[in-house]
C-alpha cells in the first residue's frame, strides 16, 4: 500500500520535472513545477514531516511560484527559445552530464547508505519546533535578517532610475 502510493507520487514528480525541462513555454514549466512541489509536499507527509509539507505548499507552491508566474507575465518570454539553437553542440553535453551525475549519486547512495534501515521513525512537529527554538535559535533569527535584506535589496534593484 505504502509502496504503491510512493510509486504513484514518484511518477507524478518525475513526469512534472521532465515537463518543466522539456516544455518550451515557461508558463507551462511553472505550472509543472507547482505540480512537482505539491508532489514533494505529499512525500514529506509520508515521511512524517507535516510542518514541512504545509510550509512547502504555502511558501513554495504558493508564494514563490506566484512570484515566478508574475515575472513570466511581466517579461513576456517564450520567443527566446523558438528559433534554432546557435549552441546546440554545447547543450547536447547536458545528456552525458546528467547521466554521469545520476550514476555518481546512485553509486554514493548505494555504497554509503545501502538498504539497511536505522533507528528510523518520524520526528513530529513538536520535536522540530523545539529544535528550531533551542539548538537552531541563532540561525532562525538570522533568517529574519536575511529575508529583510533580500526585501530591501529587491526594492532597490527593481526601482526605476529617475
Amino acid at each position: 500500500m505504502g509502496t504503491a502510493a510512493f510509486g504513484l507520487i514518484a511518477l507524478v514528480i518525475l513526469g512534472s520535472a521532465l515537463g518543466l525541462v522539456l516544455k518550451r513555454n515557461p508558463i507551462h514549466g511553472a505550472l509543472f513545477l507547482v505540480v512537482n512541489l505539491g508532489g514533494i509536499a505529499a512525500l514529506y507527509l509520508t515521511l512524517g514531516a507535516e510542518f514541512l509539507a504545509a510550509a512547502q505548499v504555502i511558501v513554495y507552491a504558493g508564494a514563490i511560484m506566484v512570484l515566478f508566474v508574475f515575472a513570466i507575465m511581466i517579461l513576456i518570454p517564450g520567443k527566446e527559445e523558438t528559433g534554432p539553437d546557435p549552441r546546440r553542440g554545447y547543450r547536447l553535453v547536458a545528456i552525458p552530464v546528467g547521466v554521469a551525475l545520476l550514476a555518481e549519486l546512485g553509486l554514493i547512495a548505494a555504497r554509503r547508505v545501502g538498504t539497511a534501515s536505522g533507528p528510523g521513525g518520524p520526528a513530529g512537529v513538536e520535536a522540530m519546533g523545539r529544535l528550531l527554538f533551542t539548538d537552531y535559535l541563532l540561525p532562525f533569527e538570522l533568517t529574519s535578517v536575511l529575508l529583510l535584506a533580500a526585501m530591501v535589496g529587491v526594492m532597490l534593484l527593481s526601482r526605476r532610475r529617475t
Binding site: L20, Y44, A49, A71, E80, A109, G118, A123, L147, V154
Partner: protein, 100 residues
Amino acid sequence: MVPESYYLALSAMLFAIGVVGVIVRRNPLVIFMSIELALNAANLALVAFGHRHGTADGQALVFFVMAVAAAEVAVGLAIIVVIFRARHRLSVDDLNLMRW
C-alpha cells in the same frame, strides 16, 4: 513502510533532471526554476535522512533552505527583470559581457 533509499533514488533523479534543465534551457526564468527543482531534490534527501535517524535536524535544515530559497528567488527575479529592462531580450546566450 517505504525504505529511505527509494526517496534517495528519487531525489538523485530529480537533482539530475534539474542540472540538465540548467544546462539545456536558454530562458533564465526556466533555468531558475530548474535550480529550484534541484534544491527541492536536496530537501527531499535531507528529510529522508532525518527520518532515518529519527531526529528533526534534517527538517530544521530544510526549513532554513526554504527561507534562503525564498530570498534567493526574490533577488534573482529582480535581477532578471533589471536585465530585461536594460537589454529587451531574455536569453542567457546574450549575457556574455564578462566572458573571456
